[in-house]
Symmetry: C2
Subunit: 242 residues, 2 copies
Amino acid sequence: MTIESDALAPTRKTGAALVDDLADRIRNRIMTGEIPIGAQLRQAELASDFGVSRTPVREALRQLQTSGLIEVLPNRGAVVSVPAPWDVREAYEVRAELEALAAARAVRRITRDQIEQLRVANREMYDYSLARSTGTAPDQPDHRRGNDLFHTLIASISGNARLGKAINDINETFPRNVSAQLIVNDSRHRDENFQEHERILQALADGDAERAAAEMRQHVVDAGEQLARWYELRSSTVFRGE
Amino acid sequence: MTIESDALAPTRKTGAALVDDLADRIRNRIMTGEIPIGAQLRQAELASDFGVSRTPVREALRQLQTSGLIEVLPNRGAVVSVPAPWDVREAYEVRAELEALAAARAVRRITRDQIEQLRVANREMYDYSLARSTGTAPDQPDHRRGNDLFHTLIASISGNARLGKAINDINETFPRNVSAQLIVNDSRHRDENFQEHERILQALADGDAERAAAEMRQHVVDAGEQLARWYELRSSTVFRGE
DNA sequence: GGTCGCGCGAATGGATCCAATCCTAATGAT
DNA sequence: ATCATTAGGATTGGATCCATTCGCGCGACC
């Protein structure tokens, strides 16, 4: 009778696996905007949400703290970090260099199929963003990752795991829903994003490492500038609103 | 009577400050080789060493785990990671790109005084390594950091805090005493290291960002190759020894 | 009426507790 | 003698406990 239920409830995760899982889930909540920037994170609430005690939750929060996604104030709990515009610019300058390296390395390893795959993904993302902006498509969380996928794929094709990790470490600092909304809401950003991706793909297809790196670097710097501007705007309106 | 002792024993660190401090101390033990590669880390032992309970120690260990310096095996404790040669090469390729960026950026911000300071530091480090190798100087832990100081200073002069953090994240993955010993023990590495530093400084002094970046990139890749070779050699001798 | 102070509730954070797991070594069977 | 088995000790890891601290509101005093 209840024997099969063991398969559905496999041995509970413990140790590092559990803590990493908790950190992932909390990070996702922040990345999707479910927990907004500046919001408080209560240990007891998270613990009961995930059905564990506060101990592993605290360890997960520490991980998010060292990555910079949240800030832990002494005896006053954790809040989701509010990125400063200058920090966004600095971070994206570093990310630009890393992704440029990834693109340059990917030139020697990428296959025709992968390029085609990226082209399709890029166009699908564009169409979806367009549909979203005109309100003809619902918000599908899976598709919000389209933009990330493009960059993640190139990083993984580069064949350097450390490189992917370094890029990821930087990305995990900034909630993703903000960048995604920029593409949906602003037609110029959307078009630029699409075309910059196309240019990167063309350079990859041409086997031109130099150009692929340059295009990627420019693309990431541009995206960072847009993001920094958004945070600038946000801070000024928030202060006015109070 | 015992009132003054309060000043000597100020309010005990708590929270993030305590955990970060513990992580620093454990990391130092590994970096200096006091805890060698592959050794086990016992929570109870560390806790009693530092006069705290196992709870904050575990949080510190998790931080070191996410940085990759240690590996935590389920229910079997933590061991200091043994870097794989290919991982060293990958990591140093990324580090090379980041430090190249730092050098390029530093060109526009570095002062004559800072260049002179780096020149002196570089020469002092060379003299010290030479004296160490001939046995005429004792092992002074403070001076072992000379090499790091060179790179850390340039990263900080670059003015991009994120960049410094990214470089640091990679460096914290590999015990430092190994790299230091390479310079002390092998005269060719020592000379190359000194001269590559000189070339970087010359490019900085000339205000040539392009060349500074190229020299730095080459220097870091070279150092990574030496380190990777050392780990290759080590793994083969260790297996033979068993 | 405003401000300072006291106290209570809530939340954090280190210490402790206990179940589960792993390692080791001693015992027993082949 | 070798190998499988199994108790016992040691260690990890989540849950719980309790001291400390923060925040907020009520009340007293100026």
